[in-house]
Symmetry: C3
Subunit: 153 residues, 3 copies
């Protein structure tokens, strides 16, 4: 087990098998050392974290969903790196889409669930650029969807 | 006519002239072999496919709009390649924005209209990473807007 | 003062210190000559331009917010270039998220506030690819959020 996965294990996080896409596309595309990963949903085993911020779930539930999106992003990166997550050089950018009502304004606190996980698990390599916005709805009613760009070796 | 355009012709698709931007920007920017294409609208000749998923149009109409966005993305790639679409190496990533109500949850089925077209016309080169989310509204009331990143030679 | 900042000064624009992120991430990540800048908010000194298009603000107010987002993007680019904005080679792509009601359809006119500023200040280097969509809500209730990709030397 590599350094990053050991750190994740200390955080009680085991990367799942990389989730399959919900439709007709691929989980990631690598061009040179850049890895473009498809939007990941908060799928935790058989459980899908659904709900709308400002309506039926609160910020801590939203942040938990964002955290699971980040775990699934890392699972995709690991798959792209033939199982060796330590080939991850840098989390470049995340775009987080928060399922929310029109009056919800705490998107950053929700997407922090992903950013905090990446910072804690990956240190300097986890420091990323980011955009956090809302969507009026997301696939299958999930609370958060996050896409990511990564640099790998 | 190149290989990809022949395949498109078999699918009864003729690439239009690359649509002009709706405002003060350019249709694409090339950096090295990466091509960043502006968000394309479902403009089919003089017709603009408008409507909101979950309200006044259904999934098949949304998927048709996404397909037209993909055709317009390819038209821009062709223009960037000086008319030779076969210089397209890979569709890297699409981000699809679906105009929908807050309770619509089938964004993937809508954006599949674009992904299916690209897969069928381009084969391996058409396999892309993707995010599919909703917007509460889109320019001119269109049903779908899709931006894309491509690798060209 | 470099050429671009002189042009900005003629436009009565002084770049602020680069705004800090609203949460646990970094303002930009550089990979090679590509610079990925986090979503910027319309923060003008202590003032934050809030409001929703189609509801309590109009297109000119939205465009002003987009312009301030663009100024903050340039402030981040300048910081990434160790204070020398003339190292900016190209604005590659903007994605503009407009805080709007479900029936607002003039996203391009709003995001033009950013595109016009960049075109006027930077000339050829300011010509960018772009997507303009709506969000039902944005962080702190801001009117617009814009993320950007840049090429620097």
């Amino acid at each position: 087990m590599g350094e990053y996965e050991q750190k994740l294990a200390e955080m009680n996080i085991v990367l799942p098998n990389a989730p399959l896409p919900a439709a007709n596309y691929v989980p990631y595309v690598q061009i040179g050392d850049m890895l473009y990963v498809s939007g990941q949903l908060p799928k935790d085993g058989d459980r899908l974290l659904t709900g709308k911020l400002g309506d039926d779930i609160d910020i801590s539930q939203g942040a938990e969903a964002a955290k699971i999106c980040a775990i699934n992003l890392l699972a995709q990166v690991k798959a792209a790196c033939d199982g060796d997550l330590d080939r991850l050089k840098r989390v470049v950018k995340l775009v987080g889409f928060v399922n929310s009502t029109p009056d919800f304004t705490e998107q950053p606190l929700v997407v922090n669930g992903a950013s905090d996980l990446l910072g804690e698990a990956l240190g300097e390599a986890g420091k990323h650029a980011r955009a956090a916005v809302s969507s009026p709805s997301l696939p299958f009613g999930v609370a958060v969807e996050i896409e990511g760009t990564f640099q790998i070796s």
